[in-house]
Amino acid sequence: MIRISNGIVVDPATDRDGEFDVLIEDGKILDVVPRGLGADGDFERVIDASGCWIIPGLIDLHVHLREPGQEWKETVETGALAALKGGFTSICCMPNTEPAIDSEEVVRYILDKAAQANYSRVLPIGAVTKARVGKEMAPLSELREAGCVAFSDDGDPVYNAGIMRRALEWAKMLDAPISCHEEDKDISCGGCMNESALSTRLGLTGMPKVAEDVMVARDIELARDTGAKVHFCHVSTARSVELIRRAKNDGIPVTAEVTPHHLVLTEDAVRAYDTYAKMSPPLREEEERELLVEGVKDGTLDAIASDHAPHEDDVKKIEFAEAAMGILGLQTSLPLMVSFIEDQVLTRKRAISSLAEAPARAFGLPYGTLRKNAPADIVIVDPQKEWQFEREDVVSKSFNSPFYGRTMKGKVRDVFVQGVLRLENEEVVLGGQCK
């Protein structure tokens, strides 16, 4: 039995926020007790979490691990390591690999790699359509049985509404959501940043907000029609937030995520053609950003997901219009949200929920809480620690982050995955056998 003592437990799922100790046994949460209660018992190990928060292991619903097919950008191993360092004990990896995650073999391959790496838990997301090309449904039951937690053609929407409707009917039977990258590329074609006064000034082709909104509107109606769960990826516009808010009020089974970068940055980050701030959907205006934050506050946007998208400098340090889309996120998401808590933008409960309980609920996962008997995924984070994020901190294979030089608040100190201490004092515990 392991005891984590002297910390502040923040577990939104059980509505706990205060001085509690956490007891771990057999990979599960044995109990959460008032600080010091029964502390004289027999423990294999007592971990002192003084000055720290004890929170559920975080869940990222949206990462790109690039394996198989683009291992020079990231691998399952390096991605899972970045996750561990960032406090994410479970990461859901998108199927836009080569080949796509559209067969049991690819799912197994990724799960094997994750087991070998032995860092954070990797939960594959299967493709909605074969090879993600939008023509025929992928073998959804096979993927589900092999371990996929959701389906997505992320990077692209499922354009054909007929196929989308059928896929939703299947996904409903399999009790898995379809996670949707909402972008009508006939509207956003050729775009490389938000369409705005700034894009007009910079002479860059814009990606209009309505390209996202029309697809969100369509899939809300398909969710209503089928009763299947639709999850909206990386929501970036105020209008989409409003559409989702209304859909939820109407009782339609939709959930949504937003990225930390859309919550803290605006399109201003690309003013000097900085390709490290180029992503899809693009960063928007300040008004949009503020309404995204409101969406997180009132729960319209359930989860915060990083959309961790590693790309090598060869495809980033080039002309803006031609540079690859996407940025790293696993190591910066939690600190950015700790700053939000410190600055009282979000309550501690809501911020931690958006990274743990809410994503677990969206995908129906048994993680994201310190509830008794839940898998012991636990993060001890020092919320007071200030540090500057630099290139040297990155453990991913790629370095595309717009946050270098930024002062971060809050650092992940220790991480338990399924009751095993995998990160201790910010260092990886080798072999993972430490108790």
Partner: protein
């Protein structure tokens, strides 16, 4: 003001220049007009300096203009052309530029299809001055300079006096670096800019404060847009705007926006016409107008050499203390 008081290291755009810088550039350009009128058109100003013209997008007149300008200043001028993206070329733009910088040129003139390309190179190259000869849809600063110089000459005004004029720009504003550079220039000088074209090619964002300070007027009707104009600048319409569905057909565009002498009846007396070339006669501008007395297009080309000489001279002489 002398050479060393020029505050810019590169000429990446008109945006970011001060009014003082702009006027200084125009005044200097005026002096170089005279050089090009001499029998012997060469001055030793940049002798021993090397200028590389890196044109990665098709261009005839701008490239020729920069080359002539460099040669008349006695610089060694090298032209490098290419097309396509860095990926298809097999070498990145940055590698190309670094390779060129390794040969110690003093100035790199760059034309590229991507907005921000000149900006990007200026950040990466530490020893070379970069002149933007057109980057995507972003800026084409020397074009705006030559347009302003042409207007100064025509109206017989010093650059600092070229203000209060009504400037109407007609055409594909959305995709035009010429329009953007001219908007910045005329805002600095104190002229009023009206943009005319269909909503698909003149997006409302151009009038936003965050775009160009908010002083720009947009008009979708040609006759209304040219009313009271002292200057009408006509832009080239590309054939591919039809296949990209920005306009239904070229005929539709012509029906609405072809600038003709009749259209200009409502313009200010003495209204003149500019076109950055090459023109599609009978599509965006009628031949009669293009060749008529109101047209300043040939003067624009002549002045192009002068403004480029001034630009190259100012950037090439920076930091040089003697004999300026």
């Amino acid at each position: 003001m002398n050479v060393d008081s020029v505050r810019f290291q590169h000429l990446l755009g008109i945006e970011g220049l001060s009014r003082e810088d702009l006027i200084f550039l125009l005044e200097n350009s005026q002096q170089f007009v005279e050089v090009s009128q001499r029998d012997l058109k060469k001055v030793p100003a940049l002798r021993g300096k090397t200028i590389i013209n890196l044109f990665l997008e098709p261009s005839t007149r701008t490239r020729a203009s920069f080359e002539i300008a460099g040669k008349r200043l006695s610089a060694d001028t090298i032209n490098i052309s290419g097309s396509g993206t860095s990926v298809s070329k097999g070498e990145t733009l940055l590698d190309t530029a670094r390779t060129l910088q390794a040969m110690n040129p003093d100035i790199l003139v760059v034309r590229h299809r991507s907005s921000g390309a000149a900006h990007f190179l200026s950040q990466e190259l530490t020893r070379t001055a970069v002149v933007n000869a057109g980057d995507g849809m972003h800026e084409h600063p020397t074009q705006a300079l030559l347009d302003c110089l042409t207007l100064c000459q025509h109206f017989e005004l010093a650059p600092s006096e070229l203000k209060g004029k009504n400037i109407t720009i007609v055409g594909d504003i959305r995709h035009s670096r010429v329009a953007r550079s001219n908007i910045w220039a005329h805002q600095l000088l104190g002229n009023k800019v009206t943009l005319v074209g269909p909503a698909t090619l003149v997006p409302h964002e151009f009038a936003d404060e965050e775009a160009f300070g908010g002083g720009v007027r947009i008009c979708h009707t040609l006759r209304e847009g040219v009313e009271g104009a002292d200057v009408v600048m006509v832009l080239r319409i590309q054939l591919e705007r039809q296949s990209d569905n920005f306009i239904p057909t070229l005929e539709e565009y012509t029906r609405q926006y072809c600038v003709t002498p009749q259209v200009l009846e409502g313009a200010a007396p003495g209204c003149v016409v500019l076109h950055p070339g090459p023109a599609n006669r009978g599509i965006e501008i009628s031949s009669t107008l293009y060749e008529g007395t109101q047209s300043l297009v040939e003067k624009q080309v002549t002045n192009g050499v002068a403004v480029r000489m001034a630009t190259l001279f100012l950037l090439g002489s920076r930091g040089r203390k003697e004999n300026v």
